[in-house]
Subunit: 225 residues, 2 copies
DNA sequence: AAATGAACCTTACACTGTAAGTTGTCAAGC
DNA sequence: GCTTGACAACTTACAGTGTAAGGTTCATTT
């Protein structure tokens, strides 16, 4: 009994911020699926139920974590060139994933509708409007670029390059023999190649958006389907 | 005791195929997080542990499910125009998500390295090579387009448009007042708009790839950063 | 000094995946 | 026809999960 009090004292009183800090640590250490209120409590030196005094449920805790990540972002300044503003916004989101790899699958899966997240989304959508697109174009481009971003964060942090997850794994020999294209392309799938690949795709989308804005009509540029 | 036997008999003996069928159903009915071996067993009219005779773990079961989805795909025929082959391949993957919305977050999260999945990936990477790109370009474009695809499947089936997940929800009044861009753009976020939005983004990437292939240099087309 | 209420703990419940051991069923060999 | 063996299903049990309900401690206010 004295022990638990000592343990408590050693850490001081709990606070939402402390709990959030520890949650980020436990998630990265144990993985997203290995995260639990009991492990979080152990990391904090308290009992699991004590956390419920500060967050009524894990869902509330997760919301606070997401809010902290998104809340730290700011929509790139209107003084900058448009293309650069887009790039900064994309990099911001991508950096969150890189700094919280184990949490990234949750981040891209999360439906952002807390006030904090809505404020950021509102600013980013405004960024598309600033690009000179009408409401419909802006909305669709926002989503299309968002798809690319979310997929990138997901794949860079939880994807193929992070090692196998399938149960029936394939040997290197078999890989070389039966899936030569995978092996050949695989040279450019490592983490060291992420930036260059991401830039390529982002530039493609940005180029095309500028073309769109400058009056070009999208789709079948050479009469093809 | 007689009851359980009767129950068993009514369904016949278990098979991997039966279990997989039921698994898809239970996942869609209960949601991915609501899926469990016990609920699956209940749907099959057997005990949870009986499933373990056919699949040694849930991970093995999931692999079989993914294999069935991916294994049903075939790489678009080389007789078709390249752009159309890309489009068909993208639509194939996207259709899987649409037909298994509750499972889609697992699909995009899953690291495909079973033989079945590798075979499909190998074919798709070959498709990029057929587009006239060298190994590096092909590899990077494969990933970039993959990002877009995965993000689209994720967002269309588990994203914002599927309803709120945050705990602190925002009223419509507050939404209209504080996040006007979100409301305005939201008109184009519904499921009815998915196809058009997806096509826009896919066309952008395809256009840019054809431009790339035809010798144009990517990035900063107008000298911008 | 008494009362209040926040902060934390204890216990308990329904759920999860699955390891280990047991029973029921049925086909092959004698 | 009986026995044997294998397979498929069941039963039980365990360690883990989120969290509801209620108990305890202690600083602060009155």
């Amino acid at each position: 009994m004295d022990q638990s009090i000592t343990k408590q004292r050693a850490r001081g009183r709990l606070s939402r911020e402390m709990i959030e800090d520890a949650a980020f640590e436990v998630i990265e250490r144990e993985g997203l699926s290995g995260f639990s209120m009991r492990k979080l409590a152990a990391a904090l030196g308290c009992e699991a139920m004590s956390i419920y005094h500060h967050f009524p449920s894990v869902a509330h805790l997760h919301e606070a974590l997401i809010d902290r990540l998104i809340g730290a972002l700011e929509v790139p300044d209107a003084g900058l060139p448009w293309r650069q503003r887009m790039r900064v916004a994309a990099d911001d989101f991508r950096r969150i994933g890189r700094e919280h790899p184990a949490y990234s699958t949750f981040i891209v899966t999360y439906r952002m509708n807390s006030p904090t997240c809505l404020a950021w989304l509102n600013g980013i959508i405004g960024l598309f409007k600033d690009g000179g697109f009408d409401a419909e174009r802006g909305a669709r481009l926002f989503r299309a670029v968002g798809y690319y971003l979310m997929g990138a964060v997901l794949d860079e942090n939880a994807g193929y390059s992070r090692g196998p997850s399938a149960v029936n794994t394939v040997s290197d020999d078999q890989l070389a023999r039966d899936y030569p294209n995978v092996v050949e392309a695989g040279r450019f799938f490592g983490a060291a190649e992420f930036d260059k690949t991401f830039e390529l795709g982002l530039d493609m989308l940005l180029d095309e958006m500028e073309r769109l804005r400058d009056g070009a009509d999208i789709s079948r540029p050479s009469g093809k389907v």
